[in-house]
């Protein structure tokens, strides 16, 4: 009872409680662009989840070669108009292999969204643990963890990921590996945010009250700090997802990310530039899919940020380092 009252009075603790959540939804609903973005994201998730169903309806799969659908005399250009679009192949077929483009595109959505979400979960998990431990731990723990975080932040993500992905044997399941590598390298900024927020909360009366009433560090971290750091963490994580999608696409584009035959949008673009005249949709579809997905998730992330902290919204309409890095 007393705890609840104390918690509710803490300034800046935006997340906890039903009223906070209700307020969040109300603010989110009033932003038109955010709503459109949310619908687009929901559709994308639906497509990714229903990929096997959708391709079953089409009657194709992403990995079967159709040599009869490409003109081997002309270097493997798809036969038929618009890159071989037909009732059987809704978006045409891939040059050279004749694999179905629609199937590859929707299965690619699974890889993109799955890897990005998994990487974000890893980043948030490490970031929260390190950040809270640094804020609540003894002085030397904070020193060690904070310096380590600084070093992690200084490491160029793309370069490290590129190098790491190449040396791990390819027998390791590739999408899992990509998510792990992104997650293990790029948690520095979130740890810094969590530490700063946890330090602020730690100085507030309601946490001091909990400490005085004999609560242990673990219980304080879980019951008093975690609800308070939820808002900044959600805000940042919402913008990490599109960033991670771009990173996965970039790594697969360079040939070290998700490997064939598993389809990925970035990987589809690797070979696309030489086909832009003969089969333009081979380039436009994955590029467009990437663009729409990253744009929708970014707008949604901006909206979440505004809804969680309207006061800081204008001030915070600022890129984060990770995000920039990701678009690279």
């Amino acid at each position: 009872m007393t705890e609840a009252v104390l918690a509710a009075e803490a300034p800046g603790a935006a997340a906890p409680g039903a009223s906070g959540a209700r307020q969040f939804w109300r603010r989110l609903r009033t932003q038109r662009a955010t709503l459109v973005a949310a619908v687009v994201v929901a559709l994308l998730v639906l497509v990714a989840l229903a990929a096997p169903l959708l391709t079953a309806i089409e009657g194709q799969d992403p990995t079967t070669y159709h040599p009869s659908l490409v003109d081997s005399a002309r270097g493997g250009v798809p036969i038929g108009s618009f890159g071989g679009i037909s009732g059987d192949h809704w978006l045409g077929v891939e040059p050279q292999t004749g694999r179905d483009l629609f199937a590859r595109l929707v299965y690619g959505a699974r890889v993109s969204l799955g890897v990005a979400l998994a990487a974000t979960v890893v980043q948030v998990a490490i970031g929260v643990v390190v950040g809270v431990a640094a804020a609540l731990g003894r002085r030397w723990v904070d020193q060690v963890l904070s310096r380590f975080t600084d070093v992690i932040v200084a490491m160029p993500l793309m370069i490290m990921a590129l190098a790491l992905l190449a040396i791990v044997p390819s027998s390791f399941p590739r999408p899992v590996l990509v998510a792990l590598v992104i997650g293990l390298i790029a948690w520095g900024n979130i740890a810094k945010i969590v530490r700063a927020q946890a330090l602020t909360l730690k100085g507030l009366d309601y946490v001091a009250a909990a400490r005085l009433s004999g609560w242990g560090t673990w219980r304080i971290a879980r019951r008093e700090l975690l609800p308070g750091i939820a808002a900044p963490v959600i805000t940042y994580a919402a913008l990490l997802v599109p960033a991670n999608i771009a990173i996965e696409a970039a790594l697969s584009f360079l040939g070290v990310g998700v490997k064939p035959p598993t389809p990925s949008w970035g990987q589809m673009l690797t070979a696309a530039d030489v086909w832009y005249q003969a089969a333009p949709q081979y380039l436009l579809l994955p590029a467009g899919a990437l663009f729409v997905t990253v744009l929708a998730l970014t707008v949604l992330g901006d909206g979440v940020r505004t809804a969680l902290d309207p006061r800081a919204a204008s001030r915070l309409r600022v890129g984060t380092g990770r995000k920039r890095e990701a678009r690279a």
Binding site: R147, F148, D150, V151, A154, M155, P156, L157, M158, I159, M160, L162, A163, L164, L165, A166, I167, V168, P169, P242, A246, A249, A250, F253, L254, G255, V256, G266, L269, A272, D273, Y276, Q277, L283, A287, L290, F291, V294, L295, T298, V299, S314, R315, L316, R317, V318, G319, G321, K323, R324, E325, A326, R327, A328
Partner: protein, 335 residues
């Protein structure tokens, strides 16, 4: 006078901090790359090597030595140089020595120095562009706030934020070089050979890298300026009759200087990552392209050397930013 001394001391402390960070990065990078599973000797020797030959290669590359002696050797080479026996002859690798390539026995330092001008041309040229484009767009949208211009610019920058660099590069290359044939496909020409050709050939790579980065700077500049415009001292300026042009161009812009410096340092590592993609896409023979190659043949000394050199530039960028930050804003505590 004391301010200057304070600044020098601050710069010194910052340099020491940067060196410690670099050392820590070198340890992490070294450990991570040399303990990761994968049979380096087999890959280096080739698929048809017999177990005995593989063993010999492992011996020659010191792959069987304990990790810490190898790291200490590496550090020694970095500081004092080192001699390498390559079968028959002995090769001296002078400091800063990053070791020899597994593939070609070339010195990694020389390899990197040969590629560095291309990457530096790309990154710093693009940086000039993204700062001009980004800050310019930000100022313009803060000045024309609430009007059509601002809405258009906000939309354009959002598109820039959401487009991966290789997609923009791909589209630019196809449209400008392929369809319109305005420019030939880029081919690197050294600045010292022909400055004009250097710039023309780098124009598209610069644009691809800069357009994306510029979007972030536009958003930041606009936000920082709008925040400053809401402050009391701006109202005072206006009340004294200072013109809008001066309010925007001089006083509000001042509020954006520090955040722009910070973002530039923060995004530098990302831009280097973007440069790898840009180099690969346009076939520019820079560090990025070399790194992708080295990574594919598991040439660990080259990979580690390049990651360290890039890390060096990132740490340098952050240190420079901290000093600039202190120069630009005297309120910053020099701690």
């Amino acid at each position: 006078m004391s301010g200057l001394a304070g600044l020098t001391g601050f710069a010194l402390r910052r340099t020491v901090g940067a060196l410690v960070t670099l050392l820590a990065i070198s340890v992490i990078v070294y450990v991570v790359f040399y303990v990761t599973p994968g049979n380096v000797a087999q890959i280096t020797c080739g698929p048809r090597c017999s177990p005995a030959q593989v063993q010999q290669v492992a011996e020659q590359l010191h792959l069987n030595d304990p990790l810490y002696t190898r790291y200490l050797n590496f550090l020694q080479g970095l500081v004092a140089g080192q001699d390498y026996s390559t079968g028959t002859s002995v090769q001296h690798c002078s400091a800063p020595c990053l070791g020899l390539s597994y593939q070609s026995d070339q010195q990694v330092t020389a390899l990197i120095l040969a590629k560095l001008p291309v990457s530096l041309s790309l990154v710093f040229g693009a940086m000039v562009l993204w700062l001009i484009l980004g800050v310019g767009t930000g100022v313009l949208s803060a000045w024309r706030r609430g009007r059509l211009t601002e809405r258009l610019l906000t939309g354009v920058t959002l598109v820039g934020v959401a487009t991966p660099v290789f997609v923009i590069g791909l589209v630019l290359m196809i449209v400008v070089c392929g369809q319109l044939q305005l420019l030939p496909f880029p081919q690197y020409v050294a600045l010292t050979d022909d400055p004009e050709q250097w710039a023309w050939n780098l124009l598209l790579p610069w644009l691809s890298l800069a357009l994306i980065e510029a979007a972030a700077f536009a958003r930041l500049t606009r936000a920082a300026m709008l925040e400053t415009l809401a402050e009391d001292h701006i109202r005072t300026f206006r009340a004294y009759g200072v013109g809008e042009r001066s309010v925007i161009g001089r006083h509000a812009l001042r509020g954006a200087v520090a955040p722009v410096i910070a973002l530039n340092a923060n995004n530098f590592g990302g831009a280097v990552g973007g440069a790898v993609l840009t180099e690969t896409l346009f076939g520019l023979p820079g560090i990025g392209q070399e790194l992708v190659h080295a990574v594919n043949v598991v040439d660990l000394p080259v990979v580690v050397g390049m990651v360290l050199v890039i890390g060096f530039f990132v740490v340098l960028a952050n240190a420079v930013a901290d000093v600039l930050y202190a120069v630009a804003d005297r309120r910053v505590v020099l701690a």
